[in-house]
Assembly symmetry: none
Homo-oligomer: 219 residues x 4
């Protein structure tokens, strides 16, 4: 997203020169890898399978990556790119409750559409090599930052009242709810439609458990 000092992109070396070819091959590779990782996880997927699913030989695969982990990184990177792209229209709407609600809706819908990718990313992230890992984690913080700023914006605009910490937790809350929709779909989707889930989530976030007397003397 906006981000101040975006971390240095973890470079994946390729021995092929033609940039557009690299782009094309990695596309095929990522598409195949996501499918396989989703089905069997990163570790149970072999490089040969990735190559086959992508439509070329292992030899070729290794012309475009250096290690198997590169594939995982590429997948994670692609996911953030895509998410950023989908969420980019939000940047403007800051400062209004309606904008926040739209953002939440868009975010959850994005996850719903890319839930394989999300699941892969959250399950396999720890298999990334150090530098790639920190890049991905920073990406995630950026995303949390987006929602944090939206919440802060609403607060400044007087629509809600939140301390800095509360805004941070709220952002985290939204992110987590999204992950939940991807992660726990084995049970959630038996019980809720996408729309229901979004609505209830938003309600819960903004208004808490319905009907709870709003004194706020929690501690």
């Amino acid at each position: 997203m906006t981000g101040k000092k975006t971390s240095v992109r973890h470079e994946v070396k390729s021995s092929v020169k033609d940039e557009s070819l690299i782009e094309k091959r990695r596309d095929q590779m990522i598409r195949g890898a996501v499918k396989l990782f989703r089905e069997k996880g990163f570790h149970r997927t072999t490089t040969r399978e990735i190559a086959k699913e992508a439509g070329f030989s292992i030899g070729t695969l290794y012309e475009y990556i250096r290690t198997k982990e590169d594939v995982l990184y590429l997948v994670c990177d692609r996911i953030y790119e895509e998410v950023n792209h989908r969420l980019s229209p939000l940047a403007e709407k800051q400062g209004t409750l309606a904008g926040l609600k739209d953002a939440i809706r868009l975010y959850i819908e994005t996850i719903d559409a890319m839930d394989d990718e999300f699941t892969v990313m959250y399950q396999e992230t720890k298999s990334l090599p150090r530098t790639a890992l920190s890049y991905v984690l920073e990406k995630e913080l950026e995303m949390a930052g987006l929602f944090e700023r939206m919440l802060a914006g609403c607060s400044e605009a007087g629509e809600i009242r939140l301390s800095e910490k509360e805004a941070r937790l709220g952002a985290h809350h939204i992110i987590v709810q999204g992950q939940m929709w991807a992660f726990r779909r084995w049970t959630l989707r038996k019980q809720f439609t996408l729309g229901e889930f979004i609505d209830m989530l938003t309600d819960q976030l903004l208004y808490g458990v319905a009907g709870c007397p709003q004194e706020g003397e929690t501690k």
Copy 2:
């Protein structure tokens, strides 16, 4: 937890007969495995490493399990046992808001104390063999069921007002937030203390994002 018809426990065969010895060795094994899985994940951990960490030879390891996946299952099973044990005092307090708050606190504190175990369980669950997997998932639903019933109890007691679906979602919400405290501790603990996290979580669950006018016109 309470649970109606708890699913059949996935049995792990041992060729050793002395039950108390089995208990003891599996204890060692689980302790070692949790540590290693936490550090390197299930797949990157070797059975030899598990044996060594547990303090015996691979030969001995395999006297107490059949496959590597058995170790993972044993770890998951142990965690639920422990969690159940820790949360068991909650069973009575149903129906009051104070009881619910206590439950949330206890739950998050439990996770905080066992966060390695939780992280392992949530990251590696998908590597379990079919029958073990479904056993673990059912355990998780049981746990969600506990919170669901507490929420429903509060609702019946008139302390809060929730539809059945809302209670179910609220329960998931609690569970997932707990997972996040384990999972995302790399970032969360930089920003919140355990107490703060619990308080804000509770507030957010019950009252929503602070200061948001309570009309409830979401859609």
Copy 3:
């Protein structure tokens, strides 16, 4: 041999595509395996040893087979192929006593030339997986069938007089004598030359123990 509906050949999968390379590598493999199996038996022979003897790495070995038992099957299959090839000139000579004698001589000479292979095959056959086993047994029946038909042919031509059962037993008899030459070479070759063995065998088969009055009142 001739055979009506030869059983489906048990396929051994290879991940290498180049058929002629497969042929070549399997040749090396079979040659090495026969040597080792002869020396130490199937079970005492290591896949690594087979690979080494064949002149490549285990990795490569497993590019051309799926399991160790595949090697055994390949060995058995090769032997039958070779035997069939060597015995193929016999097909025509049916119906004459001279033809039968030639067949016996050729058969025993073949075994003499391939006695390591035969010994391996008869000693290790039971280690084959189900489908491969039945393929090999059928091959053996086919071979018995060849001699059975030759005997029946001689009988029809009036050169000898045999019931159907007797022809079957006679065929079995020939087969067994051949195996004996391979199997018991540790003692037989101290006592007989190949030629002597063949001659005596033929005599015994056709004329029985010399000088025995031919009444036939066995019981």
Copy 4:
């Protein structure tokens, strides 16, 4: 059997002193081992299984043997003992054709009764350690010697006419046919009864393939 200089019996050391107990335990052991070897072969049978089948623990098993191969040896040894016992009445009848026929009948019947044991012995013999192996092979030569002497006896008595070599080959022939009745029972017993097999064998040995003109101009 009679035997000139019977080879030194390969000793199997036991750490138990009580001879009659050794006898008893080894009995159990052999009985169990034969069953298992028959079913799965020597190599696929584990020492634990042998102990279990025998009715005691591995610890106990190893009080009565030193290595797994000792069990195999014990099995082979027992078989010869038993065969010798069964065939002992033959010793006298030497020198008559009727005696020879009886001997063949008794030998084949013995094998028929002990075919599991025979199959095991012939299939697994090569797994014996050097000294045990040569002991067993000598035992077999002793057995061949019995028949050889019977044939020679008949020849001296003028009942048949055989050179020394022919007698030796005839003896082998009988031995091998017996082995085949054990070994190839999967096909032979579909086609012949025990009685038929014995009769045809005897006929073939003494009179050759029925109806073949007896000039004897083989070469």
